[in-house]
Symmetry: none
DNA sequence: CACGATTGGGGTAATTTGGGTT
DNA sequence: GTTGTCCAAATTACCCCAATCG
């Protein structure tokens, strides 16, 4: 029985990942910067893969070594 | 194409799809927000097609490109 | 300093959750 | 695990507005 779809995250969980207020995550969804899924009750859920992709997409690693 | 046996989902499976508590799914059924089928034993089952349709109806894709 | 965009706080209403019980 | 109900607490939604950032 695999009703497999995709793991979803709550607004609060996404907010913790970005270290932001849940309200801000809601704004991202409203602005179309991130896809969202509404529950029949009106709450939002976010795809984990999309969130993590967004995270790494916006991540920049250091390119220069530290000078001592 | 008439599906002789439509695939049915348990409350727990529907709950996983929406990232919600099984109790909440039951409330949706009671509130008429989602159709349900009763087994002779009194348990609920949900049409997979209806659930998936509901899922895609409530899904919004990201429209704005990510700013780098 | 001014500007636009983003963010977060406040307040209220709705939804969701989890415990305890049958 | 699921049903049904009650109830308290946490989370979220949605509004406006001030503070902050680049």
């Amino acid at each position: 029985m695999t009703a497999a779809t995709e793991r979803l995250l709550t607004p609060g969980e996404v907010a913790n990942l970005f270290r932001v207020d849940p309200k801000t995550v809601t704004r991202w969804a409203t602005a179309g910067r991130i896809g969202s899924i509404r529950t029949p009750g009106g709450h939002r859920r976010f795809r984990e893969t999309e969130v993590k992709a967004l995270l790494s997409e916006l991540t920049t690693e250091a390119t220069e070594p530290v000078r001592h």
